[in-house]
């Protein structure tokens, strides 16, 4: 299990949201501005990495029957830490994400990775698994945010980029973002729940299309190689 393969798995071939299809609640709920998306993605990345390392470190002393309870306690501990840190240092984000920060506890990605990966793997690979799966999750959130914000309100980087006071990044959630076309022309329905379901559905379809196409290409290449080999033999 090398790092490069893990990187590709986390981001593309085994992406938590688009391929494993877990952890969708928050993905659809909070992707209305880029600020929320990046904040949520990074929180999950940090929690996932910490949980992976800890669970992998104690995997040999966990009794099998109560492992889920122990996983949940470890996860809830890290979620509480991140929740309190956000409340203290980035209150705007904590307010915008609201109940979805404590709800990371029941996000299937984290318990799923613990169950499927860290339980059997040493600390090193578990750490990278956490980072790359977290990155894959963050990427999906960013794509969703960009699409929904652009088509819904004609904006890019709402809450994060402050254009009015010079071109700078803000962390207090007041940045207006870059207005690409006037807000009244946007399909504001995309920033409502309907848009969350629709955007994720379409994104998933695109992913399936791409994966299928690359699989077909690979198959064709293998077939061609086999034919060449056959001809050479003859």
């Amino acid at each position: 299990m090398n790092i490069k393969k893990q990187f590709k798995e986390g981001l593309i071939t085994n992406n938590p949201v688009l391929v494993q299809q877990i952890g969708m609640c928050a993905t659809m709920a909070i992707t209305t501005t880029l600020f929320n998306g990046i904040g949520m993605g990074l929180s999950v990345l940090i929690i996932l990495t910490c949980c992976n390392v800890v669970i992998s470190a104690i995997r040999k002393i966990i009794p099998d029957e109560i492992r889920l309870a122990i996983f949940v306690v470890v996860i809830a501990t890290f979620v509480t830490i991140v929740d309190l840190l956000l409340q203290a240092f980035v209150p705007a984000l904590s307010e915008a994400l609201g109940v979805f920060i404590p709800l990371i506890v029941v996000n299937c990605i984290i318990i799923g990775r613990a169950e499927a990966f860290c339980q059997k793997m040493p600390i090193g690979p578990s750490f990278f698994d956490g980072v790359f799966q977290g990155l894959g999750y963050t990427c999906v959130l960013i794509i969703m945010c960009v699409v929904r914000e652009l088509l819904g309100a004609g904006r890019f980087g709402g809450g994060l980029i402050d254009v009015a006071n010079g071109f700078r990044l803000t962390l207090d959630g007041t940045g207006g973002g870059i207005q690409i076309f006037p807000e009244t022309y946007g399909a504001s329905i995309l920033s409502l729940p309907f848009g969350g379901f629709l955007t994720l559905g379409c994104l998933m379809a695109v992913m399936q299309y791409a994966l299928k196409k690359s699989a077909k290409k690979k198959e064709a290449a293998e077939k061609a190689a086999a034919e060449i080999e056959k001809e050479v033999e003859e």
Binding site: T80, V105, F197, L198, M204
Partner: protein
């Protein structure tokens, strides 16, 4: 009192439906909506657990966490209570109502990771509901979940036979049809109840 209960119930079932406007509990919503029968079973289990969890967590929050000044442990305490509760409900049903137990099957243990359950408990605290209001919000939130999942299961049974692009197979077409059901539920969002 009565008016606040009506407001909470209508809000939880229709206006702020847990799935279609708050996105809580989407995983079991998409996972268990293949057939109307399983959807009804899942819905019933969720109503039961959400009501019970709201009541128990309210008591624990009020008399243990707040009394001792340990509010920062809420997330940890609530998830443990829910996990234990689900386990107890499972044992109780297995012993005394085996027919319901076998009907619910695998869905019972899965409820622990349903974010609607933890969500309703956290929202009870956030909205500062009293005991009765928490209980009502839990039960009606569960009913809203059940309404959504049963409606969606019947939509999905039709979608099975529809002719859609190949790449939309599986969850993708489910999400798109869920979007359309959510669109229908948006009609309730203009409703407001005079208190």
């Amino acid at each position: 009192m009565l008016s606040s209960i009506i407001t909470i119930s209508l809000g939880a079932i229709l206006i702020n439906n847990f799935i279609f406007s708050q996105f809580l509990g989407c995983c079991p919503f998409l996972g268990c909506s293949n057939k109307v029968d399983t959807a009804v079973g899942m819905g019933l289990a969720v109503v039961f657990v959400m009501g019970l969890a709201s009541a128990i967590c309210w008591v624990i929050n009020e008399y243990i966490l707040v009394a001792l000044g340990l509010e920062f442990l809420q997330t940890l305490a609530f998830i443990l209570v829910i996990a234990a509760l689900v386990q107890f409900v499972e044992m109780f049903l297995k012993k005394s109502v085996p027919s319901l137990y076998s009907a619910l099957g695998i869905y019972l243990p899965l409820i622990t990771t349903n974010c609607a359950v933890l969500g309703v408990v956290l929202l009870n605290v956030q909205n500062k509901y009293n005991f009765i209001e928490s209980l009502v919000y839990g039960v009606t939130g569960g009913l809203g979940f059940m309404l959504a999942i049963v409606l969606f299961a019947s939509v999905r049974e039709r979608v099975e036979f529809a002719d859609y692009p190949e790449c939309f197979q599986g969850f993708a077409i489910c999400l798109v049809s869920a979007a359309l059901v959510a669109l229908a539920f948006m009609g309730f969002s203009g409703m407001s109840i005079p208190v």
